[in-house]
């Protein structure tokens, strides 16, 4: 890959991602807060569709030898604790890290303030890394495992279940929203 491609490639990919996040309204703090208040299901609609569409494509790409999996380590305790903090932070901040970066560029000043908080969080993490490494990150580690590995249920079945589950859920959400609009 040329030098141009190594910069322009990710720039264009990032821009496309930011563009889509903004078009999907998830760079709005109100939309994210209302997802957790179960008043607006935009976040789940975007994420659910991305996972199903992306997942089926990536599965085919892996099966045809065009890419490989890049699975993150299942350090179960660290992931669970981190995700819990993440959930708290997301509701207090009103953004997740990616949508916050998009929001800053759409005029959200409080997202920018929170981005400085994120820098602080990253520094605090780096400073506590040594302790975490010996006390948290090494607890209940499963490695880079995937659900099909640990359950012996094949990929196709997982995606079929995900697609049907997401489809039914979104159908229910849409019909509920339509009822609310009428009523």
């Amino acid at each position: 890959m040329t030098a141009m491609m190594t910069i322009l490639g990710p720039l264009v990919m990032g821009a496309a991602f930011g563009f889509l996040l903004q078009r999907g309204k998830v760079t709005s703090c109100n939309v994210i807060e209302n997802q957790f208040r179960l008043r607006d299901f935009t976040v789940l609609k975007v994420m659910g569709t991305a996972i199903v569409v992306g997942g089926i494509g990536v599965l085919l790409l892996v099966d045809t030898g065009n890419t490989k999996y890049y699975v993150k380590d299942a350090n179960m305790l660290a992931v669970a604790l981190g995700a819990a903090l993440f959930g708290v932070g997301m509701v207090v901040y009103g953004y997740c890290p990616g949508t916050a970066l998009g929001a800053i560029a759409t005029g959200s000043v409080h997202a920018l303030v929170g981005a400085l908080g994120m820098v602080t969080g990253a520094i605090l993490y780096a400073l506590s890394f040594d302790w975490l490494k010996t006390h948290v990150l090494n607890v209940w580690t499963l490695g880079k495992v995937r659900l099909p590995d640990v359950t012996n249920i094949p990929d196709v079945a997982w995606f079929a279940a995900l697609a049907i589950g997401a489809g039914l859920f979104f159908w229910w959400v849409e019909s509920t929203e339509a009822r609310q609009r009428r009523g």
Partner: protein
């Protein structure tokens, strides 16, 4: 119910002009993932690159020696790699989308927040800062965020990522219920 309706009405102007279906946006992000996997071998993600950049900000805070000696930043040094350029692209794309759709607007205190906690800018900024710190600490501990774990990991059916999704949403729902409880 009046307050709910009112909050929707007040929110309408900002998002009304973006009429892309969240499913279309989700499918677009899924498609972007195919390219990220097949062409670049680098799944969509935000916080790994974010913590690389945070080391820059850490230099004036904890000193260049401490940054250079830090075990975490040794494993994740600042380099202008794919992830960092991707990060730069996100606000660019969101900005283009916001300007094109006429939804660019300065926001100091979001409507959902204002309705519950009042118009104080200081209060919102402090919460955003703290929320940002917590979300980034959590993201680094878990090894990813809504993009890296939620979407990229979710679509690979990674065990770590589905644990992240479940815990993140459960905690977020709980905190949101506490924060926005009826007085």
């Amino acid at each position: 119910m009046t307050t709910i309706t009112e909050s929707y009405v007040r929110e309408t102007p900002r998002t009304a002009r973006i009429d892309w279906s969240p499913y279309l946006v989700g499918a677009g992000i899924g498609l972007l993932s195919w390219i990220a996997f097949a062409v670049f071998g680098d799944p969509l993600g935000v916080t790994t690159a974010y913590s690389r950049i945070a080391s820059l900000f850490a230099v004036p805070v904890i000193g260049p020696e401490a940054v250079a000696q830090n075990a975490y930043w040794k494993s994740m040094p600042l380099k202008w790699d794919y992830g960092v350029w991707f990060l730069v692209g996100i606000p660019a794309g969101a900005f283009i989308s916001a300007v094109m759709s006429g939804t660019w607007r300065l926001e100091l205190v979001p409507d959902v927040w204002k309705e519950r906690f009042g118009p104080s800018i200081a209060k919102r900024f402090i919460a955003a800062f703290l929320g940002g710190a917590v979300i980034m600490y959590g993201a680094r501990l878990a090894g990813g965020c809504t993009s890296g774990h939620g979407i990229s990991g979710g679509l690979q059916l990674a065990v770590s990522s589905w644990l992240f999704l479940a815990v993140m949403f459960a905690t977020g729902l709980g905190i949101s219920a506490l924060m926005f409880r009826k007085r």
